[in-house]
Amino acid sequence: MNPATTKPDNEFKESFGQYMKKHNASYIMLAPYFTFFTLFTVLPVIASLGLSLTHFNMLEMPQWVGWSNYTRLLLEDDLFLLAFRNTMIFALITGPVSYILCLLFAWIINEFQGKMRAFLTLIFYAPSISGQAFMVWGLILAGDRYGYLNGLLIRMGFMQEAILWMRTEKYVLPVLIVVQLWLSLGTGFLAFIAGLKTVDKSLYEAAAVDGIKNRWQELWFVTLPAMRPQLMFGAIMQITQSFAVADISINLAGNPSVNYAGSTIVTHLLDYGAGERFDMGYAAAIATVLFILMVGTNKLVQRLLKRVGK
């Protein structure tokens, strides 16, 4: 079989048959995954993009309405603007902070050896693996004086009366941000741990010879550049998680939350899609706007990551 990576050296034009013969291994390897990917991901996404231009209540056939879902969404829907604002605040804080936390903790855990390392990985990954772990926060933030946080603050004399944490507008978003940060050592974190494991150890020896003096320099000049592929992966996971936040908001603050203080783009979407309004076309339009938002952010972040270690 011909090596598939070598480009044709000479300028002659290959026939389709020659091309396929040369690359058939590549296409055979791609086939199973992309068959199912097309069926179960690409087609549904295309269908959703199409639906965003219709009015579709899931009972009657979709009706073509052109751009009106989008104009309604961006110009008339005040609640969407609020959800948009909340999502942006939320994503701009939790995204970078939790990305750095993932990296920091993965790197620190990598400093430990053997059993201790496995144990620490489990402990830090625990919130992501224990199912509905964030329900713990329901107890901590309970609004009466028996809630753990209220109890603690009252006993320490910081306040006189219990605070209804999830029913007070100004606390909702900050609390959700804290919970999300606590939950955020998930996919990216484990990928970083595995990435650190594959960094070539001879790089560290060479760096020590070249005059790298401490672990911080080593991190910036050796480790991070060596695991750039994982950093890019982690960034995408972080973006999809921080912009698509909905679960913790619905579970802790309720949907709708008090004065929509915890509403996000996805809770707004769920209102129309799975909620009582049954307007799938409108929900699809919301999804498309969120999609564009994430794609733009991703472009920006990938550009920043190219500068790591330089």
């Binding site: 199973p32 199912f36 549904p44 606590w182 996919t187 080593e218 890019m232």
Partner: protein, 318 residues
């Protein structure tokens, strides 16, 4: 196990050091330095180690909270579970909750073993299938040059940014159209082509030096042999990590959307159904919460220990 790993490291290091002695390069100073640092790792101060340890202990206590609560709740007798205000730690531990759970599951209409079988089929095929399909597709995307490569890859990345809540309905229609409604396939086949796994595998495979693949080709290996003998062993931490993610996802599937026959439903469904019983079933529900967390954690620990065994092989050096 950890001792073995340390031993291998030392053997490797001595070998490297010996090689360096034979090499005529002016590396005398660094060789001394390296021998001096044999016991510790390069560039590590004791104060720094201590500081990191304290930091990890504090943060760890905070992060372990859900695990601690799940374990304690599972062991609490019913009066402690319903106690107000709730306490974190159990005072009179008991296994009542588990016997109640197993009694309820054995009383169910469909035999308990059937739920377990369903879970094994759905989780097993969903996990293994995804790891294989995603790795297989990731290799050409990372290391081959062909038409449409960038387009395929950006399609996968973009798909991860589209809200799944919206694509659920077209997805349901497609599965019905394929006649897969109310079969295991409705859960397994879409799971084999999730976007994240392909991206993860591709990123790790990119790090494998081309020279390694090229030398295998010169030795006469075809692309499938290269994939199996060179690529997969070198990205073992990656596919073990992917297996953890995918197992977690598949384990959490209740299949309520597609599986209408009770005989096809997984354990997750049966157990979550029990928790809907309200206060009367609080004990069994606590045991359920424990079981739902314990299985993926066991799988996680199995995979993590295998990840730790992987040493960065000398083959990875370019």
């Amino acid at each position: 196990m950890s001792e073995n790993t340390v031993a291998t490291v030392e053997i490797e290091e001595t070998e490297v050091a010996e090689n360096r002695i034979r090499e005529p390069k002016p590396l005398n100073q660094s060789r001394l330095k390296r021998l001096f640092h044999r016991e510790r790792r390069i560039n590590r101060s004791a104060a720094g180690n201590g500081l990191l340890f304290v930091l990890m202990a504090i943060c760890g206590a905070f992060m372990a909270l859900p695990l601690v609560m799940v374990v304690n709740n599972a062991l609490k007798p019913i009066d402690e579970l319903l106690q107000f205000p709730p306490r974190i730690f159990v005072r009179n531990p008991t296994f009542e909750n588990f016997s109640e759970l197993f009694y309820m599951l054995s009383e169910s209409w469909v035999p308990f073993s059937r739920y377990i079988l369903n879970t094994i089929i759905i989780t097993g095929f969903g996990t293994v299938g995804h790891v294989i399909f995603a790795s297989l597709a990731a290799y050409p995307l990372a290391k081959h040059d062909f038409k449409g490569k960038n387009m395929l890859f950006s399609m996968v990345i973009l798909s991860m940014m589209f809200s799944w809540q919206v694509t659920q309905i077209p997805n349901y229609m497609i599965i019905t159209w394929l006649g897969m409604n109310n079969t295991y396939l409705a859960l397994i086949l879409p799971a084999t082509a999730f976007g994240m796994g392909l991206y993860l595998m591709k990123q790790f495979m990119e790090q494998i030096p081309d020279s390694l693949i090229e030398s295998a080709r010169l030795a006469g290996a075809n692309e499938f042999m290269i994939f199996w003998v060179i690529i997969m062993p070198n990205v073992k931490p990656a596919w073990l990590t992917l297996a953890i993610f995918q197992f977690q996802q598949m384990w959490a599937q209740t299949g309520h959307l597609f599986l209408r026959s009770e005989e096809l439903r997984p354990l997750q469904y049966a157990m979550q159904f029990i928790t809907l019983g309200g206060v009367g079933r609080a004990g069994a529900a606590a045991a359920v919460a424990f079981m739902l967390a314990a299985v993926p954690i066991t799988f996680f620990l199995l995979c993590q220990s295998r990840i730790l065994e992987t040493m960065t092989t000398s083959g990875m050096k370019d």
